[in-house]
């Protein structure tokens, strides 16, 4: 995977991966074919990454369309990363993808990839710090 994000500092890595309180959560939508929609309050970068599901229309067709959709508005998600998490670079990258106007489902794998890249970077920065603290 090609790195597109700048490697964070230790301070940034901590900030980017922290969990915010519930009042500042990003709210995703679980859309259910039988139950309507409900809110999923996502508190961290990691939770957003896990929440988004990389599915294709074929996956839905194989289940008779009866799978939940884990939906996030990527415009709002970018805003949340910028204003709440304080990761303007990630926000910008998501905004760029969002601006292509491609369908939500087509963007999910690319957004997930971006989020995972940021998670990996943060872990890379924080792991040695954590190791040093335990030795």
């Amino acid at each position: 995977m090609m790195t597109t994000l700048t490697k964070p500092t230790e301070e940034e890595a901590r900030r980017f991966t922290r969990a915010v309180d519930g009042g500042r959560a990003f709210v995703g939508t679980v859309m259910s074919p039988s139950a309507g929609s409900s809110a999923a309050r996502l508190l961290s970068l990691g939770m957003v990454q896990q929440f988004l599901e990389d599915r294709t229309i074929e996956d839905f067709r194989a289940a008779g369309l009866r799978l939940n959709i884990h939906y996030a508005d990527f415009g709002f998600l970018a805003q949340w990363f910028d204003e709440v998490i304080g990761d303007a670079e990630l926000a910008g990258a998501i905004s760029e993808l969002h601006a292509t106007g491609e369908a939500f489902g087509m963007l999910v794998p690319r957004v997930k990839e971006l989020l995972q890249e940021r998670i990996d970077q943060c872990e890379e920065v924080l792991e040695p710090v954590a190791e040093a603290a335990t030795t």
Binding site: M47, I57, G64, L65, Y71, D73, Q79, A103, G105
Partner: protein
């Protein structure tokens, strides 16, 4: 020659411990289910203004002409009566469940069962063909009271010695024997304790959740109704019926021996749908179906049997809290909770609603020991974990601590806390109508909301929701080509909604949802689901089937199939428009009952958030919303458009209600049916009763 009906209706009076038999012939014109149930309620409930837990309340259970026959996907059991869930009035309402009950009841010779009165001590009703016994359910009797719903069924099966081998229920070798377990509908602790949130549980994974009828069972000291039947149902034209079933399967159905059909099956819920249970939570499962159903959408999972038989909301009630707390959704939590909830007999929507609401209040610092919401549950358990939900279910079922308040349902609980108005307005407690939890969104899916508002519960009929919203939204979000374009969809559906046959009925534009075409849509929709589904017995997970991408003209079987089934089962030549007339008649009877209970158009307003909070996600705040895409006709052309973001315009809704009432032949000033309207449907008896009560439309 038969007509699909069992010959008798069973009426059990628990107060007098008497059993009465009515002739089904007298009630056939109502189809069965909620039609026959409403007429039985009309006849048997002397004072329709009583509360749900009053012994005078009458509860009915049963299917329709289609139940127990080879009509595909016709295994629902409808429940009617005054339900405790409604707020502020406990309206006459309906619920239903799948499985085997309605068919087994008919095999025992009974079309419906009605229960009135209240037993002095806990009892259960044991129906073995024509032999009906009111049995002692207390500890000194069969020991059912206090057991959970699953254990109750196990004990009754043991009483029947139902172990899969042949048993005899009569003298005849050919008609008196069976290997079947009895079909049992029962309650757990939440029902026994007369909560407003209790469901009826049947088998594994089937239940009548909405309405609160579990509490009505509890109020009557009725633990369970068990039925075993060894007879059969005679239909008018078995050859035509089998031919219709095969025609439907060959031309519209999922073909298990032709997997090419699998990936291109678009319309998952309607007739052509595939068994869906295998996909839940990524766990393997064996499809399991209701009696005579071709779809097998329930599932027996190999994940330690968790959530067996469940396939719907019961396994989804706690997904978002779990996702929020742990970042994942697991069968271990969801399946276990589904089992627990069914064991207690608690309506699945309640844990979802209560969890969301308390979570919002908790964030505002209003929940905790000695606080506005006085509870220690957030201190002792982590919201989103299995343990929090299991404890909450236990407290509600046992009416313990905060559970005592929540057992009255979220609307009454909020009212007692003095928070109802504020929390419904903000959307922290999204109760769309009559205190019932938000299900699908009336701001975007207008017919769903309006039909719910004008009745007594969420309509819960996915006829248009599935094809017009879910299928279209899903394909939009995933960038896939639509099964049909918006103009084709309008044309196809327009051709299937006789007698109106107006393509504009599915115009969901901002203006059209307040138009006459929406009045036609609501009228047709309500009539269709009241008759074909909730009365005759067709399942909401298979009908209506408007669009099928596998057919040459992309049209589904609705409009052709229903009259064929009616012909095969009853022998009646009944085109769809005549079926819609029957549905309208049933709808008018329900309406008359609401009116006798005190209904007036002024009460028919949504929860305040529907007028103020846009149906669109915003960061940091969202209200049960989704990016719904629906067909619209604007500037002279059809398209699919995201209509999320709008609110209900209160003034236009009031204008629309007047228009709709005129359309139905009801008084626009009150929403009460007029004598002419009722008499044109051969319901003079209803007009007389309304007039006597001073509530006949002018």
């Amino acid at each position: 020659m038969g007509d699909g009906y069992a010959p008798r209706i069973l009426v059990v009076d628990l107060s007098t411990e008497t059993i009465e038999t009515l002739d089904t012939e007298e009630y056939k014109e109502w189809g069965g289910g909620v039609g026959m149930g409403a007429k039985l309620f009309w006849d048997l409930c002397e004072d329709k203004t009583v509360g749900s837990f009053d012994p005078g309340n009458v509860i009915t259970l049963g299917g329709g002409a289609f139940s127990g026959t080879p009509v595909p996907s016709a295994a629902r059991t409808a429940v009617t009566g005054i339900g405790p869930q409604g707020h502020p009035t406990e309206w006459f309402t309906t619920s239903n469940f799948g499985g085997r009950f309605s068919a087994m009841l008919k095999y025992a010779g009974w079309q419906m069962v009605a229960v009135k009165g209240k037993a002095e001590k806990p009892v259960w009703i044991d129906i073995r063909n024509d032999e009906v016994t009111i049995r002692d359910a207390s500890e000194s009797g069969d020991g059912l009271w206090g057991l959970d719903a699953h254990e109750t069924q196990r004990v009754i099966n043991k009483i029947h010695e139902a172990d899969g081998t042949w048993r005899s229920y009569g003298e005849s070798r050919d008609s008196g024997r069976t290997t079947q377990h009895p079909a049992i509908v029962t309650i757990g602790l939440a029902g026994e304790n007369m909560t407003h949130i209790a469901s009826l549980t049947h088998d594994g994974g089937a239940g009548a959740g909405q309405g609160g009828f579990g509490g009505v069972f509890g109020s009557k000291n009725l633990k369970a109704i068990s039925v075993i039947g060894t007879g059969s149902i005679e239909v008018a034209d078995a050859a035509e019926l089998l031919s219709a079933r095969l025609w439907a399967a060959d031309n519209y159905g999922y073909q298990p021996d032709d997997l090419k059909a699998f990936p291109i099956s678009i319309t998952g819920m309607p007739f052509s749908g595939i068994p869906s249970s295998g996909t839940a939570f990524g766990t393997a499962s064996r499809p399991e179906g209701c009696m005579n159903c071709h779809r097998s959408c329930h599932g027996v999972r190999n994940a330690r049997g968790l959530g067996n038989g469940s396939h719907c909301y019961d396994t989804q009630i706690y997904q978002t809290p779990e996702m929020t707390a742990t970042g994942k959704i697991t069968i271990d939590t969801q399946g276990r909770l589904a089992d627990l909830m069914q064991g207690y007999s608690i309506n699945a929507l309640m844990l979802d609603t209560v969890g969301y609401w308390l979570g919002q209040l908790h964030k505002k610092g209003l929940v905790g020991p000695g606080n506005v919401v006085d509870t220690d549950i957030f201190e002792k358990y982590t919201f989103g974990t299995y343990e929090w939900a299991a404890e909450m279910l236990a407290r509600m079922a046992e009416k313990r601590e905060i559970g005592a308040l929540l057992a009255e349902g979220p609307a009454r609980a909020a009212e007692k806390l003095g928070r109802l108005e504020e929390d419904v307005k903000s959307g922290d407690l999204p109760l769309q109508e009559w205190g019932w939890p938000h299900h699908y969104d009336g701001r975007t899916e207008a017919e769903w909301g309006l039909a719910s508002l004008l009745s007594s519960r969420d309509s819960n009929a996915h006829d248009f929701n599935w094809i017009c919203m879910w299928t279209v939204t899903l394909h939009t979000l995933y960038g896939a080509p639509m099964p049909v374009d918006a103009a084709q969809m309008a044309e196809i559906i327009g051709s299937k909604v006789a007698p109106y046959n107006d393509p504009m009925m599915i115009n969901y534009s901002d203006d059209a949802i307040y138009s006459e075409s929406m009045a036609k849509l609501v009228s047709w929709y309500v009539a269709y689901y009241h008759y074909y589904k909730n009365s005759m017995g067709l399942c909401d997970w298979a009908y209506a089937d408007f669009v099928n991408p596998n057919t040459e003209d992309k049209a589904g079987l609705t409009g052709i199939a229903e009259p064929r089934y009616v012909k095969g089962v009853t022998g009646r030549e009944e085109p769809l428009e005549d079926g819609i007339k029957r549905g309208t008649r049933i709808w008018n009877l329900h309406r008359a009952i609401f009116i006798l209970q005190g209904r007036h158009r002024d009460q028919e307003v949504y929860g305040q958030y529907m007028y103020e909070v846009p149906s669109l996600p915003v960061p940091g705040y969202m209200l049960m919303s989704s990016p719904n895409v629906l067909p619209v006709y604007e500037n002279g052309e059809w398209s699919y458009k995201m209509v999320a973001g709008r609110v209900v315009d209160a003034a236009r809704l009031e204008e629309w209600k007047s228009l709709y009432f005129e359309f139905e032949g009801w008084d626009p000033a009150t929403g009460w049916p007029k004598r002419d309207t009722l008499e044109s449907m051969d319901m003079k008896f209803v007009a007389d009763e309304l007039e006597k009560a001073g509530k006949l439309g002018a």
